[in-house]
């Protein structure tokens, strides 16, 4: 299904956060008010205004210092927990293999955010809406690569044809192993049946703050199996909710515009 994917080679990431800024710029997401709490990582949470961020982790094991950085956000899973969890069918796979949220169908129930094994769906309690990385679907269908990978200066983010990217990733892992990184691996090839964001990690996923073995929660799967066929009914049942949410969507857009104006 996935024709094109994005490599996130964490072993080449310098944490410059050009990707993080590019995402906000392309998608016109407002800045979040933050505080310095002890790490370079900020904002602390994913939200409707923050779809991706660079995660910083530091270690000092027996004098060997490691400062691991990696761009994180929606993985665009094949076996997407959020899609299974969504009661209205608002979450779907696009023809390009990315996972998208239909704003109109989203009722803000927050099930997707709760089910996501990577915990990267932003949920805004005020506007009652779920949002996340779109893989820059609007750019993709216009022949452009995602804004984040276009901004990356080091070759940590590389967008391309799936097979090419996989072999690039495999070669890189071999190199990292040769250099002594015994825990180097590809992450996202087998996990949740494959993800459109494919990592090369120089160490174990946990050390980057990624789940070791991401799974669709069992509850979500059961829920989906039972209620899945009834989704259409759910849609009707929550019709009112959709209408209500539409109004909220407008409010959110307005809030964003205001934030933008303030910035200007």
């Amino acid at each position: 299904m996935k024709a094109q994917v994005c490599l996130i080679d964490a072993s080449k990431c310098i944490g410059c956060r050009a990707c993080q800024a590019a995402c906000k710029q392309w998608n016109q997401l407002p800045a979040v008010k933050t505080e310095f709490t002890g790490s370079y990582e900020n904002p602390p949470q994913y939200s409707c205004s923050t779809w991706t961020k660079v995660v910083f982790r530091e270690y000092n094991e027996n004098g060997r210092i490691q400062w691991l950085m990696s761009k994180q956000g929606c993985m665009h899973c094949t076996d997407a927990a959020c899609k299974l969890a969504c009661p209205t069918g608002a979450i779907y796979h696009t023809d390009e293999g990315t996972v998208a949220i239909d704003r109109i169908k989203c009722i803000g129930c927050n099930y997707c955010a709760a089910a996501c094994p990577f915990q990267v769906v932003g949920f805004d309690r005020v506007t009652n809406r779920a949002e996340k990385c779109t893989f820059c679907h609007d750019r993709l269908v216009n022949g452009l690569q995602p804004a984040c990978s276009a901004a990356c200066p080091t070759g940590s983010l590389v967008f391309g044809e799936e097979r090419e990217i996989i072999s690039k990733a495999q070669a890189r892992v071999e190199r990292l192993k040769y250099k002594g990184n015994n825990n180097a691996r590809i992450y996202g090839l087998d996990e949740v049946d494959g993800t459109a964001m494919l990592y090369v990690l120089a160490d174990k996923p946990e050390k980057y703050g990624l789940p070791a073995d991401p799974q669709v929660p069992l509850g979500t799967r059961i829920w989906s199996a039972i209620y899945g066929p009834l989704r259409i009914l759910v849609v009707i049942a929550v019709g009112f909710g959709i209408w209500a949410n539409l109004t909220k969507n407008k409010e959110l857009d307005k809030a964003k515009e205001e934030a933008q104006e303030e910035k200007e």
Binding site: A31, F36, E58
Partner: protein, 804 residues
Amino acid sequence: MTNHWIDYQHSDVIMAIGGNTAENHPISMKWIEKARDEKDAKLITVDPRFNRTAAVSDLYVPLRPGTNTAYLGGLVKYILDNELYHKEYVEHYTNGTYLIEEGFDFNEIEGVFSGIEDDPIRNAKKYDRTTWQYQRDENGEIKIDPTMEDPNCVLQLMRRHYEKYSIENISKITGCPEDVLEESYELFSTTGKAGKAGNILYAMGITQFTHGAQNVRSIAVVQLLLGNMGLAGGGVNAQRGQSNVQGATDMAILYHIIPGYMSTPQQATHPTLNDYNELETPPSGWWTNKPKYLVSLLKAFYGENATPGNEFGYQWMPKLDGRDHSHIAMYKDMSEGKVEGMICWADNPAVSGPTAGAKREYSSKLKWLVSVDLFENETASFWKREAGANPEEIDTEVFILPAAASYEREGNKANSGRWIQWQWKAQEAPGDCKSDLWIVNELFKKLQQLYREEGGTVPEQITKMHWDYDGPNGEVDIVKVCREINGYNVKDGSLVNNFLDLKYDGSTACGNWLYSGYYNNLEKPPTKRRIREKEGIGSHLEWSFAWPLNRRVVYNRASADPSGKPWNPDVPQVWWDEAEGRWKTNDVPDFNVNIPPRESAKIPFIMLPEGQGRLFSAFVNDGPFPTHYEPADSPVSNFLYPEATYNPISQRFYEDHVVETEEEKERYPYVLTTYRVVEHYQSGIMTRNMPWLIEMMPELFVEIDEELAAELGIKNGDKVAIESKRLYANGDQKSIEAKACVTKRLTPLMINGQKKHIVGMPFHWGYMGKSTGAVANDLTPSVGDPNTTIPEFKASLCNIRRVG
């Protein structure tokens, strides 16, 4: 840079020392990663902090701030002891074989060279350099010993000078474990072999010390010993941190040079043009052309008013009075009420200058202050309550001229690799914001009018100036500026091809000889070229224009052996084709291709009169061999030279300014280094008005190691106070506040058996803009290097305590 960014792909070992390249020059990593991917290149980071570059390095070398010369001196000794230097290169291309005067000596107790004497005017020492000269025979030829065994030859003197720089001693000084030192020395020395290229990258972590110039010299010495100069993947590569700081330096933003790196005339020694030419023109080397460049510059300055009869207007040129007029000295003058007004152009010293708090105070002695910036910055607001001042007590009149950002104007910019690239305007500037060029044009025209009408002191300096840059509609015609920088023939205004066309007789005008050729064609100016190289070694000769003469790697004659065979045939810069009897090139040759290879091999470093690289240089104010001096604010005394002070030649501007006594060392026990983060830019006035960047780096912080944090009861995110001697007066200790960043990336270092903690602070914050914070530079001392007076931002002492 002697090389350029794209050239990094050819390096075998890259040492980032005193330069956090991933953080401050992210694009460099593209080429470094390429080198690592394709040729298994290794990256070494030498830095007090495990920084973002260290995070992706093969080897991290920690060291105490201010001990780079010791570290590099240790590398020199390692190279010499293990005979790892590139012998043929050193013999043919450096002054390693030259004999130095018998009287040359070094005092191991005081850490000073022969010729030391008092300099009461500068409240420091200075050198009489008689004993530092080359020995010459009766014909004036330099005496050499090709075997390099004569005890007075440079290589032997060097062995002696660095005898004490053993790994054991260097470990005690720097705090770096011996095995890590050795590993890094061994790895970098592998580039001494023919066919291998070692690249040293640096930035302010090398230069911003009271011994900054010597740090740079150390790098040059290492690179000459290993034969890494002139070749692809090698070089001494200063990475510039602002988009056009290279261009600013080329254009002589510094007081001691005039455009194109010629010295500013001194009234005492250069009263006439002839005096200047006699004193400043060496007997051999490329600088023998200097008089042509100076006269062409004078013609650009004064136009038709410059004639052979009036020394081409040389008398109108401002001349120096022998004193230092750099940043620290200028502010000292200001503190004494000697400065009436100041134009602060794209500069924010109230945040970015050393001892910034005092600078803000001195500003109130100005009658007027003009600030040209994108936003209202701290310097322009020194009088406000936000700055801690009382506006009622300040009489200074402040003007703010809103400037256009770089994307809102067109013009050329020089990058670190000396590429003078045209930048097109991306959008109009908002409101009344104007380009710098427009502002300077209007300002000068007004000044000229006033001087014409009202006169003044030496009005000719202004009234005789050739100033004709107006374009249509009240705009500046930038092409007129480019023409003048490029140079033209006075007779018909036609553009000169390059600096080889410049003349001494006043028939050519040129604003900067080094740039000559960058705009030698009105239709297709080289600076606007954008053609990528299809095959080759990445020189991209048809992409923009690199000074000088579009040369991408300078001194490239040294990339081939004396017969013309490249040291590394895989990526040759130039090579002699025996069959065809001519040179072939991948770059613009830095030598005369019309003389036989063995002849050009005698002068690969064409800018120097002796034509060969200087392992020993009598032209540095503080000594011919780089020598370890402690920073002015140091937690320990000099381990190598027991009676040495900090750099003895460095001017002592203020009394009781740096930490001296044991009691003070206890009061300020931690070594502070300041730095930049990628999310903010310089004094922060641009980026602290940008919400997306503020979101990522919202507040001033201070990095502290876990052990020190535990000792002081400081937790991550706590508010802490930082104190230094600069904030101490009459028994009253002031402090600045920041958030604590307790990190595993810093570890205490063992300095000669004593544990010392290093703390680090970015300096981007101030009291204006959307994100405000204390000014880290309130802590740093106003001391500087004796060659450049660049301030010592990178190493000082402080105390830290928890607040509340």
